[in-house]
Structure formats: structure tokens, C-alpha cells
Symmetry: none
Subunit: 123 residues, 10 copies
């Protein structure tokens, strides 16, 4: 079951600087809540860290924890964004989920978080 407690962070050693981290996870899988069939997609996480960074191995375990969950595309995307924001409290985060063809239809979901007061200039 999807479990944000699997996520670990470490201290951002360079908080004085706005810099960008992009993780691309092409092996995401969950289950369709209507049909019980597996869904497959690519999750891309782009963020500007504040005081904490997401530890990569824990991210893998966290994403893997969706494997047998029945969940809508839209909810997966927003839930991952919420969990990651809660755990690492970034200045900025963009979550993109690209799902494979189902019933002849492919889908992409994009959701964004900007920390209050953060100026996302020319992002």
C-alpha cells in the first residue's frame, strides 16, 4: 500500500542556492480502481529543494509501494505531489505522470506546487 513513511530525506547541504533536481521514474505501476487491471506510466519529479532533499532509494521504494493499489491517474499524480511536498517541503515542485494506452486512450497529468512567497521567476 502506498506509504509516504517510506520516504526519507537528507539535509540539503547548499540551501543558500536555488537549484533544480529532476528525477524520472519510467517503471511506475498501480492498479485501475474500476477494472482491477494494472496501469503503467512514467513519473517525473522536478523540484527546487529548500532545507531537505529526497533520498533516491527511498523514493524508489515509495513509488513501488503503489504497485497493488487501486487508484485513479489524477489521484496518483496529486497524491505523490502532496506526499513529496509534505516530506521535503521544497520551494517548487512539478509532478508529471504519463500513462500508457488503456482502452485505446493514453493520458498525461501535470500538477505543480509553489511555496508561498517563493518567486518562480523564469521557470
Amino acid at each position: 500500500m502506498a506509504n509516504k513513511k517510506l520516504l526519507e530525506v537528507f539535509d540539503n547541504a547548499y540551501p543558500q542556492r536555488d537549484y533544480t533536481i529532476i528525477h524520472t521514474a519510467p517503471e511506475f505501476t498501480s492498479v485501475c480502481p474500476k477494472t482491477g487491471q494494472p496501469d503503467f506510466g512514467v513519473i517525473t519529479i522536478e523540484y527546487i529543494p529548500d532545507k531537505l532533499c529526497i533520498e533516491l532509494k527511498s523514493l524508489k521504494l515509495y513509488l513501488n509501494s503503489f504497485r497493488n493499489d487501486g487508484i485513479f491517474y489524477e489521484s496518483v499524480t496529486n497524491l505523490i505531489l502532496e506526499d513529496l511536498v509534505e516530506v521535503c517541503k521544497p520551494r517548487y515542485m512539478l509532478l508529471t505522470a504519463e500513462f500508457n494506452v488503456r482502452g485505446g486512450i493514453s493520458s498525461v497529468i501535470e500538477a505543480e506546487y509553489v511555496k508561498e512567497g517563493f518567486n518562480l521567476k523564469q521557470k
Copy 2:
């Protein structure tokens, strides 16, 4: 027969955020009202949900319900936009329909909806 009652929605669990959903359906088919011959095309639906999301399987069934309808390209495009807007009341929706060659001519139709008062900034 095209039937918007086939469309189902579910609650958008994250209405506090403007995020984007893109569904691409490359297996759309209807019938030419002039010749009675089948038409084929790709329907792309891009939207920012408000309180409701379109359920994917119901979208497939809805699009399939055009299969034996005689309808112009321009009407198909706008009708799908109208039906989807009526059912899920999004903040923004862009409907693109790309139709295969007929009589040596291929066609693309694009139609857009913006909810009153919604600010589509840099979309």
C-alpha cells in the same frame, strides 16, 4: 448513438490546485453524413478540472458511441467539447480532432473552452 449519459465523473480530490489532464484517443471513428462512409481520427482532450474529473473508461464508451453516427468533423469536435464541459464543468478545456485523409484531404479541428472568470495566464 452518441450519448453523453455514458460519461461518468468522479470528485476531483485536489480542487485547491490548477493542474492539467491530457487524454489522447487515437481510435475515434464516426460516419460521414454526406457519403455514409466511416471517418477515422485522433481526439485529444486537455483540461484543468474544477470539482469533477472525467472517468476514463466512461470516456472510452462515450467516444465509442459515435461509431455509427453521421456527423461533420466540425460538429463532432464542438459536440464532444460541449458534452465534456457540461458533464465535468472544467476551468479550461482544449479539444483537438485530427482526421485521416478523405478525398485526398486531411483535416484538424481545434476548439477551446475557458470558464468565466478563470485566468488562463500562460497556458
Copy 3:
């Protein structure tokens, strides 16, 4: 002989909305008025309809009616634009004609119509 009477229109069922229609016709052919030899090209018609849409089969027959006419590239392009504008009175129309190599030279002609008072914002 090129004959705009072949063009048929039908009522735009969605005049309340500015939407875009693009027809691409890669099998256009006419005759060079200097040499009598056939010319070949791709005609692309992009428009925003007002009260009327161009019926596709009639467009094919209209474009085919140039088959044995001797006419300059520049005149073909502008004439088609004029005929289509006269018949369907669009809010906006862009006509692009890309002609095959003749005497070692290929040619592209682009001509545009904007209805008086129509604001072509970010087109």
C-alpha cells in the same frame, strides 16, 4: 475550369466560439500558363469560421477543378483564398501553397485574410 460554384457550405453549429479548422490537400495540380506543363503542390487552408463552414467533399471538387487551368502560383494562392472567403465569410483564413520543383526551383506562397474588426490576438 476553376469554379467556385462547386463550393458548398453548411451552417456553423457553434458560431459562439472562435475555433480553428485546418484542411491539408497534398494532391493539388494545375497547369503552367507559360509552358502548358502540369504543376503540383500542397494546399493548406487554416480558418476560423463565422456563420458557415466549408463542406469537405465540395472543397475537393473545387480544388480538382483547377486540374486543367493555366494559372500562376501567386494567382492560384490568392484566388483560392478569395473564393473561399467569399463563400464562407470566415473570421480569419491563412492559405499556404507549396509547389514542387520546376526548373530546379521550388516555391511556397502564403496569403492571409482577417475579417474587419476581428481581433486575431495570439494567432
Copy 4:
């Protein structure tokens, strides 16, 4: 010998409209004035006509008339621009010449003409 008298024009039947004509001639050849060896290049002519258009066959003959002339790349480019501007008096013209490798070096020359008082808005 390069001879602008070969150039013929015909009346622009649609002077009320700013429209664009692009001719691409990939078989241009002249002779290097230093070595006497042939040069080869692609000439691209983009223009907005005023009262006159360049006739295509005469353009071919004009470009062919450089075949045995010894002339620098920079002069070819500007001379063609000058000749075409003189003969068809356009509102705007852009001449691009891309020459093949000579002595291990390839070259591109671009020169532009804008009629006095013509507003080249978003060109």
C-alpha cells in the same frame, strides 16, 4: 554572363494584400574569381510583392546566367538582391545563399531589403 535583362515580371493581381513568396533554387553555380573553379550553392528568395511578381522561368534563366561568371559569394548574394529589387520593386526581400564546402570551409550569406516606409511588423 549574369544578365538581369533575363528577368521578367508579371502584374501582381492581388496588390491589396501583403503576402509572401518563397523560391528555393538548390542548383546555383558560378565560378571562383580566385581559382577559376566552380562554386555551388542554394539560393533562397523570400519576398512580399508590391505591384510586380518575378516570373519563375525567367528567374531560372537569370540564375543560370551566373554559370560561367567569376564572382565572390558576398557579391553574388548582394547582386542578386539588387537585381531582383530593381526589377520587381518588392515591399520586402530576404536573400540567403548557402555555399558548399571549399578548402574545408562552407559559407552562408544573408542580405535583406525593406522598402522605405514599409512596416515589416512581425516578420
Copy 5:
């Protein structure tokens, strides 16, 4: 062990001019601090020198010195930026690190330095 003392500089012979230097090092390798497994990535360094330039062979030796260090992606990227800035004191520097797939996830980190008072106009 990563050792910035390996870095050598030489005098920028043209300090009167803002010009750009880009080094791309596709053979960077370090060790994951969690798993002990090797990481591989591409390091790209883009900078505008002030009084000093980075000597290329010393850069290679410096980058090679990370080979057996256990270090997070985010730290590698920022540490290299800090070391290079300290040693060559540039007007501007952009460090990009693209890491290969680990646990099904690939990562990119970007960090930037702008010298106080330097105007990075249209960069």
C-alpha cells in the same frame, strides 16, 4: 578522494571580453553513499571567465578524483560548483549533472553561480 587541489588555472589572456566556455565530461563516476554501488553521469560546466581559466587536464584529474567517494548527487553537483568557483572565480557558472538510471530512476541536477555585481543580461 575528491581533491580541489588538483585543479589548476591559467591566466585568462582576454579578460576585457565576456566570453563563454563549455566543458562536457560524459565519463563522471562516483559511489552511492547508501548502497556502495557506482553511479555514472555527465557533468557539464558552462562559465564566463574573469581573470582565470580552468586548465583542462587538471579538470579531468579533479573529476576523476571522485571515483571512489560515496556522495549524494545533489552534493556532487554543488560541491563541484563550489570548488570551481573558488579556484577560478568566474563571472558566471552553470553546473549540470545528468545521472544514469538507478533503481529505475534517472536524475538531473542544475546549479548556478553569478558573481556579485555581474549583469547576466540575456544569458
Copy 6:
């Protein structure tokens, strides 16, 4: 030995116009001053001439004269820019040097000259 005396110029026959000349020389080679091993790169020269143009064959001979010189990438780039500017006194010049992989690292250097008082508008 690099020798700017090899460079020849000829009168720009069209000084009344700002036009652009781009020479691309993919066969540049010099020698590394640290290791004595050959370096290879692509030199691209983009300029707007004033009263003089660079003669192409002399440019080839000038670039070839670096063949056995030991010189840093950064110095090569700026020296060629300085020599060409001195000899042809252009309104604008951009020098780009892209060097092949050495020690697993590839490098690009860009340097620009703008004549005092010249307005490089939308370059």
C-alpha cells in the same frame, strides 16, 4: 606558425547594407601546449562586414597556419577573433570553437565583438 599576415581582404561592394556572412571550418587543428598532442575542432565565424570582407582562400591558409602551434582553446578562440577583427574591421563578429573530446571532456568557446557605436538590435 599562426600568421595573420596570411589573411587577405577585399572591398565590401555593398557597405550601405548590414548583411551577415557565416563561415564554418570543421577541419581546424592545433597542438595542446601541455601534452604536445594534436587538438581538433570546428571554427565558426559569423560577421557583419563594414568596408572589408575576408577572402575565403586566405582564411583557409590562415586557419591552417595553427596546425603545429601549441595553444590553449581559450586563446585560439580569442586570438582568431582579434586577428580577424583587426584585419577586416567588421561591424559585428561572433567566433565559436567546438573542440573534440580530450581526456573524456569536450569543450566549446564563444567570443563576440561589437564595433563601438554599432547597434546590434535583434541579433
Copy 7:
């Protein structure tokens, strides 16, 4: 309903020669007999005619007649081959059907007919 009576033939005017005809129909659609959902595929017909050729418009109508039939991929492929062989009695025919992704799986079916006594040498 699939109906081979829609197929028309015409006399092969050149029976003295073995020659090859290939028709590719990328808009084939039928219905899955298990789920009632539409299937989509590309049908390719390669044949050497004997005394009769398949008329193209009738082939289109015949293929369209499968539109609302529930039928397995394997049966579609063999049934089309049987019908076409019965109607035009070719010397050789190869039927290839490539079906779109269903449940994450795409399928290709190939079936061949060789007239008794026909020597298909190096086909």
C-alpha cells in the same frame, strides 16, 4: 455484417504475366466478441492475379462491412483471405493483419494462399 457479396472483380487485362498487387488498408475496425469493444488494425493484401482483379472501391466497402461484427483477430484474417481467394481466384495471396494494443498487447496475424500448381519461386 461482413458480406463477401460486396466484393467486385474486373478482368485482369494482362493474365500472360505474373505481377504483384499490394493493397494496404490502415482503417480496419471490427468488434471484440468477448468484450463488445471495438478493435482497430491494418490489413495488407498482397496477391498475384490470375484472370480477375479485386475492384478497389468494392474492397473498401467489403472491409467496412466488418465494422460492427464481433469476431476474433485470427478469424478476421483467415475469413478475409478465404473471401478474397474465392472471389478473385488469384495465383498467390498473402494476408497480413496488424492489430492495435489491447490490454497492453499488440498482435499480428499472417495467412497465405498458393494456387495448386503455381510455382512461387523466390517470392
Copy 8:
């Protein structure tokens, strides 16, 4: 009307040698005998001449003479082969005709002639 009398030949100056000539004509057009609508295709002629070669300009005029003829794909292909074989009596000829999409179906026809006694070894 298609007219083989338009075809001209000239003496093959090198009959002592088997060599290959390939002409590709991508602007072929004729008319569908069923619908009266234009067809478009690419005709490729590959042959080994014996005593005569086909003159290229006459080939163009001959192919153009099909412009307003109603004729099946299969007959076009074989008729061109027959006409060319009759006129230039080659050692070998392969005729390939690739026709554009009609009713959603594209078609390719291939027909071959080998002179009696000619050994087409590894062709």
C-alpha cells in the same frame, strides 16, 4: 489521352554493356474509371537498354498524357510497361506504381519484363 506515340528513343551508344537506368516520376496522375476522381502515384521505371534508350522529355510528356484518362491501377502499370517495352525493346524492365490513399487504402503494383534469352542473373 495516353499516347505511346509521344515516346521518343535515341540510340544506345553503349550496347556492348548491360547497364541499368532508373527513372522515378512522383507526379503521375490519372482518373479513377469508377468515380471520375483523380488518382495520384509514383511511377518507377528500371531497365537495361538494348539498342535504344527512352528520351526523358518524351517520357514526361507520355506520362502526362494519362492526366485525364479513366484507367485502373493494374492497367496503368501494365500498359506503361507494354508501351515502353514496345518502343525501346529493352533487355529487362521493372515497372513499379505506388498509388496514394483512396477510400483509406493505398496500393502498389509491380510488373516485370525479361527479354527472351536474356539471363537476368543476380538482378
Copy 9:
């Protein structure tokens, strides 16, 4: 005027070995004997030398000498083959000439020479 006396040879220093030389000349031009207009093509010469090799600069001058000759494609191809064979007496030679579009038709001519007694095994 085409002049085989321009061709120079030098001794093949390695006649004990069958090896292959391929020269590709993409800037060939001659004149059409029917229309007087220039033709353009790519000449490729592949050969196995015997006692003599073709000197490259003389080959360029020889190919350039066709510049103003009126000659058929087929004759150009065979004549170049004959001249080169006569001058360098190779063990094997393949001449390929690919000509640009004329009247909507492009052409390729291939001619081959094998020295008597030479065994062109798996060429």
C-alpha cells in the same frame, strides 16, 4: 569541353592487393542536349586499381570539363566509365550517376566494367 586528357594517373604502389577506391562527386553538372538547360547530379566511382590510380585533382578538373557540354545522362555515365577505364585500366569499376529532378522525373544510371579474366567473387 569534356577532355579525358585532363585525367592524370600515378603508379599504384600496392598492385599485389585487390583493394577498393570510392570517389563521390556531388557537384557534377552538364547541359541537356535537348533543352540547353543545365543538369545536375552526383557521380560515384568505385574501382579496384591494377597498376595505376586516378589522381584526385585531375579527376575534379576532368569532371568539371563537362560543365558546358550537351550530353544525355546515359552517355555521360558510360563515357566517364570508358574514359576512366582507358586511362587507369582498373580490374573493376562501377560508375553510378544520380541526376536531379527534371520535368518532375529523377534518374539514376549504373554501369560496370570488369577486366577480362578478373574474378569479381563476392563484390
Copy 10:
């Protein structure tokens, strides 16, 4: 000056097996014996070692030693083959040299060595 004494070898540790080694050197340069101008090319060495392998750094130094030698393409290719065969006595070697455009002509030379008694079966 080209110097085969620069070449070093080391013992092939796996002589019991026929295996293939391919070295590609894209930075080869020598000098044209006719014009004194530099030539540039890509040297590819494919071989099956017997008892000895070519040491890579020595190969670089050997190829660099041609830098200022005036030598024909054909001789370069065969000379490198001879030197390498003499030094490492392989079972099989294929030398390919691809030279850049000179006078509008690019050239490829291929030469092969097969040890007496070695059976190059399916090479």
C-alpha cells in the same frame, strides 16, 4: 614523419579464439602531395589478432606521425595496413580510410589482408 617503430604490441592472452577488434580514429590528418594542403579523414582498423594485439596509445602516436607527411590517400591506406600487419601479424585485417571533401569530391579507400591459410568464412 610516419614511423612504424612507434607501434607497440602486447601478447594476445586468448589466441585460442578468433575474435574481432575494431579501432576507429576520426582525427587522422596528413598533407596532400600535390597541393601541400592538409587532408582529414577517419581511419577504421578491424582485425582478428593472432599472437599479438596493437597497443592503443602507440597506435595514436603512430597515426599522429603522419601529420606533416605528403602522401596519397591510396598510399596512406595501404601503408598503414602493411605496417600494422608487419607489427602484429593478425589473422585478418580490414583498413578503411574515409577522407573529407577536396575539390567537391569525397573518397573512401578499403584494403584487406588475410593471413595465408586463414579461412575467413562468414566474415
